[in-house]
Amino acid sequence: MIEPKIFRSGVRPNWCPGCGDFSVLNALTHSFSELDLAPHQITTVSGIGCSGRISGYLNTYGFHGVHGRALPVAQGVKLANRDLTVMAIGGDGDGLGIGLNHLIHAIRRNVDVTYIIIDNHIYGLTKGQTSPTSPTGFTSKSTPKGSLDTAVSPIQLALSAGIGFLGQAFVGNPKQMIKLIESGIKYNGFSLIIALSNCITYNKVNTLKWFRENIHDLDNDETYSPSDRKQALLSAVEHNDLVTGLIYHEEKASCQDLLPGYPNRPLVAQNLTPQQEILDNLTAAFY
C-alpha cells in the first residue's frame, strides 16, 4: 500500500489558509492509498476555479481543462483507457453553473468516472460571486441586493437523472469523505460525491460552523436506506439538501459494459497498423 502522502505532488497549494479544499485533497490521498492504487493508475481531470487547482496538487496524471468541461474530458479518458481510475473534480460554479448539462448527461451515460463537486456555494477564484448553490437572498459582489434565484440542488437533479451512486460529504468529516470517495471509485459506473466545503475568504454565510449546525447525516440515520430512490429524493427535499453520507447506491451496467464491441483491453492498447484486409472488408459495400 502506498502512503497517502505519496499522492501529493511537490506543489504547495495556493489556496487560502483554512480553505475547505485542503480537506478534500487530503481525503483523496487517503482514499487512493486505501484502495491500493499507484499514482500512475489514476488520472484526475479538473475544472477551473480554486478547487480546479487540485489536480496539480495530486501526484496522479492531471488534466486541468477549461471551465465547466471536466466531465466530458474525464469520460474521454476513461473510454480510451478503461484500466485507469478516472477522477473528475471541480467547483459548484464549474460543475453546476456552466457545466451542469455535462453532469446530467454523464449520469445518463454512466461511464465509470468518479466526480467530486467541491461545493462552497460561491465562485471563489473570481473573488466571490453568487454561485448556483448560493442560497436565495445571498449577497455577494454579483448580487449586492441578494440573489433572486432558487438554489440548484445537485442531489435532486442527480437522482432525477437516474444516478447510480450518490454521496454527499463535508470537509468537517474527513473519515466519511474518504469512505465515500473509496466507494465511489469502486463503483462500476458514474459516481457523484458532493463535498460541502467552506470558502473562508468570500462566503461568510455557509461557514464550517453553519454546515455543522445544519447537516443531517444519513449514515447515522437508521431509518434511511440508500437503495430507495424515492426516499433519497424525499430526504433531500426535507433536509434542504443538507444531508451527508451515502445517499443512493444501485448496481447497474456501466457504459463500458454496454458499449457494443468495446474490447476488454483498453483502446489505447489496440494495434493500429493499417491492414488492407480491414480496408477491403469495409470498402466492399462501395463497389
Binding site: H40, S55, G56, N59, Y61, V66, G76, V77, A80, L279
Partner: protein, 580 residues
C-alpha cells in the same frame, strides 16, 4: 458532347428531379451504382433543402469514360418528376438534350428547342399497382436512352431492396422494365448511347464516408460528435463501424462535450476525432485553444456549409477558413487541411492524425457540402499508403529521483515537440493545464518563461509542411488558377478548357492551407501574369491569406461564388475569358 465515330458518347450528364420523398435519391443511386460496376467514372451531386419531406430535390450524375472531378454546367438527359425540375433546370440542357417529363407536368414553350418527351410515368407505375415506383419507370426510360442493358441493373436492385422482401424487388424490376419498354416503343432506345465502361473496379462514395474510412485506417478508435448537416454521416458511419473494429463512438450532448471527450481520449492516448459543421466549429473554439495550449493532439472534421449562423445548412460554401485558422482567443499552433476530392478525404483524414500527433496540436480538416455529400468515383484505397506515425509518445519512462515530482511534459527540445507519456505509464505522471506553464506543466507566469513557451509552441510546426500544394501545367504560365479544397475538380477542368484554347495556363492548388504554404505559392506565382484566386466565399478568404503572407502585390483577380452552389468548370472558364 464528344461523341465518337460510332455516335457513342464518352460523357453523358443525367439528372432526375422531383419532390423530397419521391425517391429521387435512390433513383440516382441505383443508376450510379450500376454504372460504377460497369466501370464508368461518376460524379454525383444532390441539391436538397433543409426539410424532411416535400421541397424540390435533384440528383445530377455526370457519367464519363474518363476521370472527372466536378459537376458540369451541361445536361443531356433530364428526368422531371415535378414542375420545378422543368422550370429551374431545363436551361442547363444542351441543344440536343432530352427531357423526359411526367405527363401531368406543364411543358412550356421555352423548352421546345429541346427534345421534350412526355412519359406516362405515374400511369406506368400505377399499372403495376403502386405509383411510388414511378421513379423506377423513369430510370427504365433513362436506361434505354443511354443504351444500357437492363440485366446489368438486377444486382443492384436486388441488393437494395432484398431486405424489404422479394415482392418489392420484383415490383421495382418490373417498373424499370416497363419504363424501358415504353422507351423502346417510343423510339428512344439508344438516343444518347454511352460508350461502354472499362469494367474496372472502383469505389463510389461520398466524402464523409471516405473521411470516416480514412480515420479508421489511421487507427482512430474513438469518435464523439453531435449530429449536424452535412457532417452527420461521419459519426453515423463510425457509429456503425466502431463496434466492429473495437473502438467506441459516443453521441455527445453538444459539440463542446464532443470535442472535450475527444481531447480526453486523445490525451489518454487513443486516436480520436470529432466531426461537425460551422455552428459546431464555433462552439468548439475554446477547447481548440485548450488543445493547442496543452499540446494535446485533436482531429476535427468541419464539413462546411453555407454560413453565417444557421445559414444554408444543405448548401455549399468554403467560408469557415479564416475562423478555422484564427478562431479561438489567443495564439495557438494549428494545422488546417483542405482535401481536394473524395479520395483525398480518405488520405488526408488519415494524414491529419499523423500531423496531430507529430506536432501535438489541433488539426482541422475542412471539407464542404460538395465533398462531404457529393459522390465520386474513387480508385480503390491503398492501405500501404497510410503510415501510422504516432510522434513522440513515450511508452516507458525512467524513474525520476524524487517522488512527487512530475515528469517534464513540456521539456524544451530542438523540434519544440516534447515527448509525452500516456496516463497509466509508470514514472510518467505529469500535469497538463490550459494555464501558461513551465516545462513541468505547472502554472507559471514568469515573463521570460512565458515568452519561451509561446515560442516553443508557435514554432514547432514548420513554416511549410511537405505536400501542402501541387501544381499542374507548364512552367512559367501566363495564367494561373489558384484554389484550395473542393474547388480542385472544377478548376482542373477549367484549366483544361483554357489549355485547349491554346493558352499557357497552370493550376496551383492548396491541400494544407495552414501553416500557410507561402513559399510554394510564391514560387509558382512569381512568373504568372494573370493570377485568379478562385473560392466559394464572399470575402475572399484565401486572397486575404495570400496578401497577408506575400510581400509582393500580385494583382490577383478574384473569382468568388457564394450563392450556395459549387463551381462548375465552365463558369470558371467563362469568367476568366470575360476578363482577359
Amino acid at each position: 458532347m464528344n461523341n465518337d465515330i460510332n455516335g457513342e458518347f464518352g460523357e453523358v450528364i443525367w439528372q432526375v428531379g422531383g419532390q423530397q420523398g419521391e425517391g429521387i435519391d435512390s433513383t440516382g443511386d441505383i443508376l450510379a451504382s450500376t454504372l460504377n460496376q460497369l466501370g464508368y467514372y461518376l460524379y454525383g451531386y444532390r441539391e436538397f433543402s433543409s426539410r424532411i419531406k416535400g421541397g424540390h430535390t435533384h440528383y445530377r450524375l455526370r457519367i464519363s469514360d474518363n476521370p472527372i472531378g466536378a459537376i458540369s454546367h451541361k445536361l443531356h438527359l433530364l428526368v422531371a418528376l415535378d414542375q420545378e425540375s422543368l422550370s429551374t433546370q431545363n436551361h442547363f440542357l444542351v441543344p440536343s438534350g432530352i427531357i423526359i417529363a411526367d405527363e401531368n407536368l406543364n411543358v412550356n414553350s421555352t423548352m421546345v428547342r429541346h427534345n421534350v418527351v412526355k412519359a406516362p410515368l405515374t400511369r406506368l407505375s400505377e399499372d403495376l399497382g403502386n405509383k411510388i415506383v414511378k421513379n423506377m419507370a423513369a430510370l427504365g426510360i433513362s436506361i434505354a436512352i443511354m443504351n444500357l442493358r437492363l440485366a446489368d441493373f438486377e444486382d443492384v436492385i436486388n441488393q437494395r431492396f432484398s431486405k424489404k422482401g422479394s415482392k418489392v424487388v420484383a415490383l421495382n424490376l418490373a417498373a424499370i422494365e416497363s419504363g424501358f419498354d415504353w422507351a423502346c416503343q417510343h423510339e428512344l432506345l439508344g438516343k444518347l448511347p454511352l460508350k461502354s465502361g472499362d469494367k474496372k473496379k472502383r469505389l463510389f462514395m461520398i466524402g464523409n464516408q471516405a473521411a470516416a474510412l480514412g480515420a479508421i485506417m489511421a487507427g482512430c478508435r474513438f469518435i464523439s460528435a453531435y449530429p449536424i448537416t452535412p457532417a452527420t454521416e461521419i459519426m453515423e458511419y463510425l457509429g456503425r463501424q466502431m463496434p466492429e473494429i473495437g473502438g467506441a463512438a459516443i453521441q455527445a450532448e453538444d459539440e463542446i462535450a464532443a470535442i472535450n471527450m475527444v481531447l480526453g481520449a486523445s490525451y489518454a492516448g487513443v486516436r480520436a476525432m470529432t466531426s461537425t459543421s460551422g455552428p459546431g466549429l464555433s462552439l468548439m473554439m475554446e477547447t481548440i485553444g485548450l488543445s493547442g495550449m496543452t499540446e494535446t493532439p485533436v482531429v476535427i472534421i468541419d464539413a462546411q456549409r453555407g454560413g453565417p449562423s444557421t445559414g444554408l445548412p444543405t448548401k455549399h460554401e468554403q467560408s469557415d477558413l479564416l475562423s478555422a485558422i484564427f478562431g479561438t482567443h489567443g495564439e495557438v499552433p494549428k494545422i488546417v487541411i483542405t482535401p481536394t476530392s473524395v479520395s483525398q478525404c480518405f488520405y488526408q483524414t488519415a494524414n491529419a492524425f499523423n500531423l496531430a500527433e507529430k506536432y501535438q496540436c489541433p488539426v482541422i480538416v475542412l471539407s464542404d457540402v460538395a465533398l462531404s455529400l457529393g459522390k465520386q468515383t474513387v480508385e480503390p484505397f491503398d492501405a500501404s499508403k497510410i503510415k501510422v506515425d504516432r510522434g513522440q509518445i513515450l511508452l516507458e519512462v525512467d524513474p525520476t529521483p524524487e517522488d512527487g515530482t512530475f515528469f517534464q511534459r513540456y521539456g524544451y527540445t530542438a523540434s519544440g515537440v516534447s515527448p509525452r507519456p500516456l496516463p497509466g505509464t509508470k514514472n510518467g505522471v505529469h500535469f497538463v493545464t490550459g494555464l501558461e506553464h513551465d516545462e513541468t506543466g505547472l502554472p507559471a507566469d514568469d515573463p521570460a518563461l512565458r515568452t519561451a513557451m509561446m515560442d516553443k509552441r508557435l514554432n514547432k510546426i514548420p513554416d511549410l509542411l511537405p505536400g501542402s500544394t501541387f501544381y499542374h501545367g507548364p512552367d512559367n504560365p501566363d495564367y494561373l488558377l489558384v484554389g484550395y479544397g473542393s474547388t480542385y475538380g472544377p478548376i482542373a477542368e477549367a484549366r483544361e478548357m483554357m489549355a485547349n484554347d491554346g493558352l499557357l495556363v497552370g493550376h496551383l492548388h492548396i491541400l494544407i492551407i495552414w501553416p500557410f504554404p507561402i513559399a510554394e505559392l510564391d514560387y509558382n506565382m512569381e512568373t504568372a501574369k494573370n493570377i485568379f484566386i478562385i473560392e466559394n466565399n464572399a470575402t475572399g478568404q484565401l486572397e486575404g491569406l495570400l496578401d497577408m503572407h506575400s510581400p509582393y502585390d500580385r494583382k490577383t483577380k478574384p473569382i468568388r461564388k457564394y450563392n450556395g452552389q459549387p463551381f462548375v468548370p465552365f463558369e470558371i472558364y467563362q469568367q476568366i475569358k470575360e476578363r482577359l
